[in-house]
């Protein structure tokens, strides 16, 4: 067995007829922070769902810690998931539980720790995201950025082997943004885990990651270390890093021509 925590081989997936992922290959090692970037709708969230075993690939496979995810039985999958954390794109906090209980959720479900220890652990996690004082609030009383940070605290609750962050930086002010960025880096280094960050925040993430994958058109369009990415002359990467509208990454979802959609044809002919 290799030291790779995750191996993705020729992965393909589609929800309906339209293929979302066509042929994705990636490897990720322990102790790495990996960024996945790509246009909106390019399938980044879907890729995380595939790694977590929430949906099954139509071809290829994902291997986590030597196990092929989609071949696992339900019990084995749940066992594997105990070692994974996931920060959902929209937080997905449990709205009927307080901030404290949200972070404590997995500890109560999966461990027999005494309540006093759970309390200390939860407060530590909340402290790390700067929200120890908000532990008694309900999710509805949080701002968007606060909810996201609570969700982050919840996803690291059990110190998993692998954490997937779906856009951890959106909705954060510049200060919390760099705090959270370095938190992800420190956690990864301290616990020897692997972190996958899906993000649009190129500048911030290039500061903390070890490796970057660019997802486009259902496949990995480019990949490299932050230095390689910054120096890359590939038009695709250049467009992404500098946020230009024109380039190989289309801004528009595939559609009829604009004129046809607006029914302009008739008037002009």
């Amino acid at each position: 067995m290799s030291e790779h925590l995750i191996e993705i081989k020729d992965l393909a997936f589609s929800y309906t007829d339209r293929p979302i992922l066509k042929r994705v290959n990636m490897t990720m090692s322990r102790g790495q922070v990996i960024a996945i970037m790509g246009g909106s709708g390019s399938g980044k969230t879907t890729l995380l769902r595939l790694i977590g075993g929430e949906v099954k690939p139509s071809a290829g496979h994902v291997e986590v810690a030597g196990q092929v995810v989609h071949q696992l039985s339900r019990n084995e999958l749940f066992k594997l998931r105990r070692k994974m954390g996931m920060l959902f794109q929209f937080g997905a906090l449990f709205t009927d539980l307080s901030v404290f209980d949200n972070v404590a959720f997995q500890m109560r479900e999966h461990t027999n720790l005494p309540e006093s220890m759970i309390r200390d652990l939860v407060l530590m996690k909340l402290h790390a995201v700067g929200l120890r004082g908000a532990s008694h609030l309900m999710p509805a009383e949080l701002s968007g950025g606060m909810a996201r940070r609570v969700a982050l605290a919840r996803s690291i609750a059990l110190d998993p082997l692998l954490i997937m962050y779906d856009e951890p930086f959106t909705g954060l002010d510049p200060i919390s943004l760099s705090v959270i960025g370095s938190l992800i880096r420190r956690l990864t280094d301290a616990l020897g885990m692997t972190s996958i960050i899906v993000t649009h925040d190129v500048q911030e993430s290039l500061k903390i990651v070890d490796y970057v994958y660019f997802l486009a058109d259902g496949a990995i369009a480019a990949h490299g270390t932050p230095e390689e990415v910054k120096g890359s002359t590939m038009p695709f990467v250049h467009q992404f890093v500098h946020g230009e509208e024109d380039g190989p990454v289309p801004f528009h979802y595939p559609a009829e021509t604009y004129r046809k959609d607006l029914k302009l044809e008739v008037q002009f002919v």
Partner: protein, 265 residues
């Protein structure tokens, strides 16, 4: 013309197949919930918490409705019975109507619209906001952790609420006929005591409300879990819970009554 008729028939067929398909899904889901109920009983606190939400918070509407239904029964019963000079039998009328029919049926209808809709909306919203996915990713089964406790809370609350409904109804009937109209109190209670049989009336009433509880709770959790993860999806599912529950309650009531009270003593 021919084509339109064919299309119409086809549409009916499609709806029938869809309906049966959903029924099958619901049945499978029901069995799944039963299979995953062990957590609910090992950690009964989860169920108790939900009993508070579906049962205790339904108390007011159940108690008030029971009181009014009993009062109306008392009035109407007295009105008719006194024509035949047998107004003392009004206690029997009130108690039997409540225990056999109105208690279980009315409280189940109220329960479906108060608690069933709330269960559907809550589970549907948890799904729409990815809370159920998140729970699954934390290796906690949402059917065992979220659905089953709500189901059992509904099943347990329903007979208790129906009993309270009947009690309040009898009290309402007493209030109107004895206190306000002046029917003899002794006659009211003794006719009731003579006519109501524990096994035949009360136990059958409780059995009915147990069936209704299972039906309403199963429909509510299924609709919530099956709801499309959007605002319209959840609102549609909530409406369906109330409508389907009402039909199920009334249909079941007929079947159960046919089995229980066939006029043979």
């Amino acid at each position: 013309m021919y084509k339109r008729i064919a299309a119409g028939i086809q549409a009916i067929g499609h709806r029938a197949i869809d309906g049966i398909w959903r029924l099958g899904c619901a049945a499978r889901f029901f069995i799944l919930v039963l299979l995953k109920s062990t957590t609910s009983f090992l950690r009964f606190g989860l169920v108790i918490r939900e009993i508070y939400f579906v049962g205790v918070l339904s108390l007011i509407i159940i108690l008030v409705s029971g009181l009014f239904v009993g009062m109306v029964l008392g009035l109407q019963g007295y009105e008719t019975l006194q024509k035949y000079g047998s107004e003392s039998a009004v206690g029997t009328l009130v108690a039997l109507s409540l225990v056999r029919e109105l208690g279980p049926v009315m409280s189940a209808l109220l329960f479906a619209s108060r608690a069933g809709s709330a269960i559907t909306a809550e589970i549907g919203l948890m799904k729409a906001t990815e809370q159920l996915s998140a729970m699954g990713m934390m290796a906690v089964d949402p059917v065992a952790r979220v659905v089953a406790p709500r189901f059992w809370a509904g099943v347990i609350s329903m007979p208790l609420l129906a009993a309270l409904f009947s009690v309040m109804g009898v009290f309402g009937g007493y209030l109107v006929t004895v206190v306000f109209i002046g029917v003899d109190e002794g006659a009211f209670w003794s006719s009731m005591q003579n006519a109501v049989d524990f096994r035949y009336d009360i136990v059958n009433g409780v059995i009915k409300s147990c069936f209704f509880g299972v039906a309403v709770a199963a429909i509510a959790v299924f609709e919530g879990f099956d709801a499309p993860p959007t605002a319209e999806g959840v609102s549609g599912a909530t409406t369906r819970t109330v409508v389907t529950s009402a039909l199920a309650i009334l249909g079941l009531d007929f079947v159960l009554t046919a089995f229980m009270f066939r006029g043979v003593d």
